[in-house]
Symmetry: D3
Subunit: 168 residues, 6 copies
Amino acid sequence: MENNPTRLSHVDPDGRARMVDLTDKPATARTARARAEVWFPPDAARTLGLLGPECAADLVGPKGPVFQTARLAGIMAAKRTSDLIPLCHPLPLDAVAVDLRVVGDGLVEITATCKTTHKTGVEMEALTAASVAALTVYDMCKALSHAIEIRHLCLVEKTGGKSGHARP
Amino acid sequence: MENNPTRLSHVDPDGRARMVDLTDKPATARTARARAEVWFPPDAARTLGLLGPECAADLVGPKGPVFQTARLAGIMAAKRTSDLIPLCHPLPLDAVAVDLRVVGDGLVEITATCKTTHKTGVEMEALTAASVAALTVYDMCKALSHAIEIRHLCLVEKTGGKSGHARP
Amino acid sequence: MENNPTRLSHVDPDGRARMVDLTDKPATARTARARAEVWFPPDAARTLGLLGPECAADLVGPKGPVFQTARLAGIMAAKRTSDLIPLCHPLPLDAVAVDLRVVGDGLVEITATCKTTHKTGVEMEALTAASVAALTVYDMCKALSHAIEIRHLCLVEKTGGKSGHARP
Amino acid sequence: MENNPTRLSHVDPDGRARMVDLTDKPATARTARARAEVWFPPDAARTLGLLGPECAADLVGPKGPVFQTARLAGIMAAKRTSDLIPLCHPLPLDAVAVDLRVVGDGLVEITATCKTTHKTGVEMEALTAASVAALTVYDMCKALSHAIEIRHLCLVEKTGGKSGHARP
Amino acid sequence: MENNPTRLSHVDPDGRARMVDLTDKPATARTARARAEVWFPPDAARTLGLLGPECAADLVGPKGPVFQTARLAGIMAAKRTSDLIPLCHPLPLDAVAVDLRVVGDGLVEITATCKTTHKTGVEMEALTAASVAALTVYDMCKALSHAIEIRHLCLVEKTGGKSGHARP
Amino acid sequence: MENNPTRLSHVDPDGRARMVDLTDKPATARTARARAEVWFPPDAARTLGLLGPECAADLVGPKGPVFQTARLAGIMAAKRTSDLIPLCHPLPLDAVAVDLRVVGDGLVEITATCKTTHKTGVEMEALTAASVAALTVYDMCKALSHAIEIRHLCLVEKTGGKSGHARP
């Protein structure tokens, strides 16, 4: 039976989930940046001050404590990534940064950047940070609307490792 | 200073993040269902067998171990929700179910359903389960493409609590 | 050998650590409030704006992000209490609130309040929240001085349970 | 707006909490030692054997299991530091030791020492270990008195890193 | 395809892992008791004082700190059961007790008892407590011998729930 | 009082539990392999397809989802080892693999292999992975029989470190 003609790195030839073996990989400096969007329906966007000319700063008005809480939740989640994603390796993180800003009417962009000096990359850490920051925004605003949606969570850039500098 | 004219449930009148006080709420049966999509570029979709007539079953072919791992990761993440989302209440879960299926060329739909009998709902638990299941799919397939994207994470339905049966 | 003439609730007659058995206790509404102080040497206090007439508000100036981060760390730690304190029971929390304010030159007071409806109290949850909030203040300010000190962590008040309303 | 004239290492120029970036720091051997005191009112001190000539040993009498449990709780908490303190880096620990001894009538001193070979220090690990050990002592003795107080949690000494050997 | 003729409670008819749905089950008092053995080769047993007439007490001699550490590790692990076993429900524990005693030359018996008042039993909590206590004994003694073995981990008795009082 | 004539590595001369100090140990490549057995009574073995000629493959029939869930639970538990075993060091894991196969009528063998490049070995990680995988098998099959037993959990082999290649 050939269950894995695709040579998925996390599935062995018999179709069993597995961690990638890092034993022979060198530790190098690596970074990854991920982003997500949180979309608000118009009424909720208005209430939160996510419309018009006030959009620039992230700490003013009702969105202030929301963005600050989300930032910390994202940073802390990056550190829990290997607890959450079954086949991720635990690794020391050199830095985690999470930023939130209003990029359009009712649209919040979350960017998460992670750094490590290790044998494997921090792509999943950045994606997990962005994801949990977005969930935290949802949690704190869900009393305004249940139609809030998390969109376009993806990798923006990664550096280091075999593939060097890459943008998907 | 009026920092919270919006009466966000998770922000106090002085703009400080806070947990909602459940002391006087009755424990009732509650459910929530959330969904997310994972989108694959065509080459990765082809390799994983996410195209054409084989799409129906979720355990056959290379996607089998991916979907099974993601399901378990989602279930386990639901139980960690209050560890991840700063202002979520810890609560006993009656059930968690996570399903993955191919709904179009290169498009995987993840549905997470949570149930509790408690003073507050399980919306965040369902969203967290769907989110971590989607991240796990990404993790196991990222060797195929870094352009995989997680899309449209949202609440589908909730029952129980003050608002009763609701679809956003 | 009589190792426990004191009938410590958490030590059995043979001197072995044990959890208290809650089987026959009724679930009742309970609260606990704990406090701690963080003391800063004068230079650090001046730099942080912990002196003179600006002391009132907790979100203005350099201390703003420190206090906000500490508040969230305290809330999240309350939820981890039974993971940290070996003989504590896991329990559902109805509410956690953590407040920080400047109460004198270079002196920050942290107050943590926890609520539950359960068979045992939330004294340890309130103390743990205050303690971790204080450690977080220390962490964020330690570049200013290593002489910062955490002082007078104690219970202020508890209600509910066998002893009813009590102040130590 | 100049929100951070103090250049707090954990706050960026816009007043946002952040982790320090360790990318370019060398890994060196580092240690930190922290201490805390637990104060007991006279009746509780007498019951626990914290008075007079028996004070020396820490494993004899009713305080034995209390001290042993607190030691382990402190050691385990050191390993959870980066889970608890939002902006702490996860790091490998070379050693953790926690000691408790009676230093006066009704006064227990807790000392926690942590070691690592990493890019940042273990000050927060030592403080967290001492803090959780003290909370565990409180938990196990709270049936005797709610006036027990945790006092003077501070750093005693650190070695390694940019500042070399330092006593605050 | 009929993948589950056995109606395993944790596998759905399509062969997918699932949590049992507790929504309609009543909360009742439940207990479970599990046991495990740790076997030591003769030299290690002699060194640890696990031979002959000294066997009775568990706190005397070199085995004292080993047994005490294992007891606490087992109690704490019981509280983490739903974090470890993917399809276990999180639940409040009324009590956890772990005992270790020498039952023969080089043979240590570990008994773990858990209690809850909930919709499902605490069988897995008792087995997890016994298991982690046994692993802790191994860890602390492995410098003496790597041939130490953990044996016969099983359920001894459970009460409450649909099956009432049961011994396997 | 001489409490530790045995020089147990995890107990100090005064009988206090302690972590081993790794400060001066070099980081080297290390592996460990552990195994456990899960024994099923005949009826349960028959229902699960653990008898006769079908025994070879691990993903076919009712045992498929059981084995897959156990594999992931074991891998994830390896990453939690230092959270569970009080005196274990946290360490980065290079790889974790868990395999399950039927080795006789009603007898399932679990093998767990862990790798690291660190100052201490991964023996406890491998034993913890095998142990939690076995508990997960029990959990998913306990509706069939409560007489299922976990047996013979032991180290099979370790490489690296002072003792080099060793089989107990």
